[in-house]
C-alpha cells in the first residue's frame, strides 16, 4: 500500500506553494508550464487511484498512523476517486484555457487555482466530517479570490454576496458539527453511521436537527431551491476558466449530501433513516422548475449556462431523493456528463463574447463572428449534450435517471418535470444558438483570432461526451458498483474500523 490516496491533495498543495517561491514566482510562463505539468501528473495520479480502488477495494489512508475512528482518515472508494478524477480532468482543461491569456488579468491565478483543486479533492476524499468542513473552507477561500480574478464592478458585487452567504453557511456547518459531535460522539463518517442507530430518544431529536442543518449547508453549495439565488449571477460574473472550474463546486455539495445522507442517515439509521428525503423531493423538483424558467429568461449565454447548472443540480438531487442504487448510479453517470459539458459551455460562452465586440454573449443582434464555423460546431455539440438529445451523453444520463424512477409512486412527478425541464432547456439553448450564430449585422472584423490552446481545452471537454456514450457499458458497470458500495456500506464500515491500514 502506497501513499497514493493523499497525492490528489498533496500535489496541488505543494505545487501552489512552490509557485509562490522565487524560482517560479516571477514568471507567468514558468507558472503556466509548471501548473500544466502538475495538472497532468494529477490526472495520472487520480486515474491510478481510481484503478487501485476499483481493483483492490476501498483504500483507507490513515494520516499519522492514528487509527480510526480517532485519527483522520482519507477514504478512497469508487465514488470519491471518480469525483477526484473528474475534478482533475476539468481542472486541466480549465487551466489550459486560462493559459491562453486569462491568467494574466490578475496576480497568482495558478497558485489559487491549485489551492482550489486541493480543496475540492480533499472534500471528496476525506472520511471525516470535520475535515470535510476544513476542505470546504480551503476550496471556498480559494474560490473567493478566484472569483474576483480580473477585477471589475460586477465581480466585486457578485463576490460580496457569495462570500457573505458562504460564511454564514460555514457557521451553520460548524453548529451542525457541534450538535452531531455532542450527540453521536464521533465525527468519522463510518463511525457515525454505526452509532446513529444506537442513539437514545432524546438525542435523536438533536441529531436529526444536526443532520438537517448539514443538509441546509450542502444545499447552499449544491444550489438547491431556496438557496440557489446566488449561483447564476456569481457564475456569470466569474472569468471563463474560473466558471468552468466552478462547475465542480455544486457537485461537491451534491456529493456531500450523497455521502452524509446515504451513509450516516441512510436506510440503516434506525429512527433517523432518510431524514432528508421528505425535504429533497419537493425541493429538487422545484429547483428543476426554477432552473428551467431561469434558462428561458436568461439574457446572455453565460446566465443560460449558469441556470443549466441549477437544472443539473435539481436533476441530481431528484436522483438522490429516490434513494435507490439504480438512481444513485444514474446520478453518478449524470455528474460526469453535466460537469464536463457545463464547463465546456462556460468556455464557449467566453469565446463567443470575445468575438462579438460590445454585444458580448448577450442575445442581441451583433456583428458577425470571425470563426463562427468552429465555435458553432462546438456550441452545437455542447447544446445537444446539455439538453439531453440523442446520441450524446446527456441523453443516456437522463434515460438512466428516468428508468430508475420506475415503480415508484413519485414517478408521476419525476417524468413530466424532468422532461418538461428538458424541453425548456432545449428552447432556451436553441434561442441562444439562433440569435448568436444567425442573427448578425455587418461584417466580421478580422482582428480576433482564437488561440489553439483554448480550442484544445474545449475539444477535450466536449470529446468526453461521445466517449461517455461509447464506453457507456463499463462506466455504468462502474457507477453501479460505486452505488452498491454506498448503499450497502456495512461491509466497508467493518473493514475500515478494524483494519485501517497505512
Amino acid at each position: 500500500m502506497s501513499h497514493l490516496p493523499i497525492l490528489p491533495i498533496l500535489l496541488p498543495m505543494l505545487a501552489a506553494v512552490f509557485m509562490l517561491l522565487p524560482p517560479l514566482s516571477n514568471s507567468i510562463t514558468r507558472h503556466r508550464i509548471f501548473a500544466v505539468s502538475v495538472m497532468v501528473l494529477l490526472v495520472v495520479a487520480s486515474a491510478l487511484l481510481l484503478l487501485t480502488s476499483h481493483q483492490q477495494g476501498t483504500q483507507i489512508y490513515v494520516l499519522g498512523g492514528w487509527q480510526p475512528p480517532f485519527g483522520i482518515t482519507l477514504v478512497a472508494d469508487r465514488i470519491s476517486t471518480m469525483m477526484v478524477l473528474l475534478t482533475s480532468v476539468l481542472g486541466l482543461c480549465a487551466q489550459l484555457y486560462a493559459c491562453a491569456g486569462d491568467d494574466k488579468d490578475g496576480m497568482y491565478f495558478h497558485p489559487l487555482f491549485m489551492f482550489q483543486i486541493m480543496g475540492v479533492n480533499g472534500a471528496f476524499l476525506t472520511g471525516d466530517v470535520f475535515n470535510l468542513f476544513v476542505f470546504f473552507e480551503v476550496l471556498l477561500i480559494a474560490s473567493y479570490a478566484l472569483l474576483i480574478h480580473g477585477g471589475g464592478k460586477q465581480k466585486t458585487k457578485a463576490n460580496v454576496h457569495y462570500v457573505i452567504l458562504n460564511l454564514v453557511g460555514s457557521s451553520i456547518f460548524l453548529f451542525a458539527l457541534g450538535i452531531l459531535y455532542g450527540t453521536i460522539g464521533s465525527l468519522n463518517i463510518m463511525d457515525m453511521a454505526n452509532k446513529v442507530p444506537l442513539l437514545g430518544e432524546h438525542e435523536q431529536a438533536l441529531a436529526k436537527s444536526g443532520g438537517l442543518l448539514l443538509l441546509v449547508v450542502f444545499a447552499l453549495k449544491a444550489a438547491l431551491l431556496p438557496l440557489h439565488f446566488w449561483l447564476p449571477k456569481t457564475y456569470a460574473a466569474a472569468s471563463a476558466p474560473v466558471a468552468a472550474l466552478f462547475a465542480i463546486m455544486t457537485k461537491v455539495g451534491v456529493y456531500s449530501i450523497l455521502r452524509v445522507h446515504t451513509t450516516i442517515f441512510g436506510e440503516n439509521a434506525g429512527e433517523l433513516a432518510s431524514i432528508a428525503i421528505p425535504w429533497l423531493w419537493p425541493l429538487s423538483l422545484l429547483t428543476l422548475v426554477f432552473g428551467a424558467i431561469g434558462v428561458l429568461a436568461s439574457p446572455s449565454l453565460r446566465l443560460t449556462t449558469a441556470n443549466l447548472v441549477v437544472v443539473s443540480a435539481g436533476t441530481l438531487m431528484l436522483a438522490i431523493a429516490m434513494q435507490r442504487e439504480a438512481a444513485t448510479s444514474a446520478a453518478l453517470y449524470y455528474i460526469l456528463h453535466t460537469t464536463l459539458v457545463t464547463g465546456a459551455l462556460f468556455l464557449i460562452a467566453d469565446l463567443i463574447s470575445k468575438q462579438r465586440g460590445k454585444a458580448e454573449d448577450r442575445y442581441v443582434i451583433a456583428r458577425k463572428m470571425n470563426h463562427s464555423t468552429i465555435i458553432g460546431i462546438a456550441f452545437f455539440i455542447a447544446a445537444l449534450t446539455v439538453v439531453g438529445l440523442p446520441p450524446l451523453s446527456g441523453f443516456v444520463g437522463k434515460i438512466l435517471i428516468l428508468q430508475a424512477a420506475e415503480g415508484m409512486a413519485e414517478i408521476a412527478w419525476v417524468w413530466p418535470v424532468v422532461l418538461l425541464a428538458g424541453l425548456a432547456c432545449l428552447v432556451g439553448v436553441s434561442r441562444a444558438g439562433t440569435t448568436i450564430f444567425w442573427r448578425s449585422a455587418g461584417d466580421a472584423s478580422s482582428d480576433e483570432s482564437i488561440s489553439k490552446l483554448k480550442l484544445t481545452a474545449i475539444a477535450l471537454l466536449l470529446v468526453a461526451s461521445p466517449l461517455l456514450v461509447v464506453f457507456g457499458g463499463p462506466i455504468i458497470e462502474f457507477t453501479d458498483l460505486a452505488a452498491a458500495e454506498l448503499h450497502r456500506g456495512s461491509a466497508v464500515i467493518e473493514s475500515a474500523l478494524e483494519g485501517g491500514k497505512q
Partner: protein, 122 residues
C-alpha cells in the same frame, strides 16, 4: 452554568443573524464575527461543560474531552482568516461601487429617507 452558557450562545447567534441581515457591509461583517464567536462557544460546549477538568489524562480527577478544543482551535483560525478576507472585500466593494451597501446600490426608499433626515439635520 449551562443555562448562562446557552443564553450567551443564543444571544450571540441572534445578534449575529440580525446584523448579517442588515444592508451595509460593516454591520454584516460585525454580524459574521458575532456568529463565529457563537459558533466557537457552541463547539466548545459540544464536549460537555466541566469545571476543573484538564484535557490531559492524569492531571485532574476528571478529564474533559480534548477533541472539541482542537475543533475550536481550527474553527478560530479559519474564522479569523475569513473575517480578514471579508473586511478587505468590504473595503474593495466600497471603493468599486462607491457605497457600502451589500447590493452595490442604496435602495430608493432608503435614499429618500436619508435625504429627508439630512434636510432635517440641516
Amino acid at each position: 452554568m449551562e443555562a448562562i452558557y446557552a443564553f450567551c450562545v443564543g444571544i450571540l447567534t441572534t445578534c449575529g443573524f440580525f446584523l448579517v441581515l442588515r444592508g451595509r457591509t460593516f454591520t454584516v461583517v460585525i454580524g459574521l464575527t458575532l456568529l463565529s464567536y457563537a459558533v466557537n462557544l457552541f463547539l466548545f460546549a459540544s464536549g460537555r461543560l466541566k469545571l476543573d477538568g484538564a484535557a490531559v489524562l492524569g492531571r485532574s480527577a476528571e478529564y474533559s474531552d480534548p477533541l472539541p478544543q482542537a475543533l475550536v482551535l481550527t474553527a478560530i483560525v479559519i474564522g479569523f482568516a475569513m473575517t480578514a478576507f471579508v473586511v478587505i472585500l468590504a473595503m474593495r466593494s466600497r471603493a468599486d461601487q462607491g457605497n457600502d451597501h451589500v447590493d452595490g446600490q442604496i435602495p430608493e426608499q432608503a435614499t429618500t429617507r436619508l435625504n429627508i433626515s439630512d434636510k432635517r439635520a440641516g
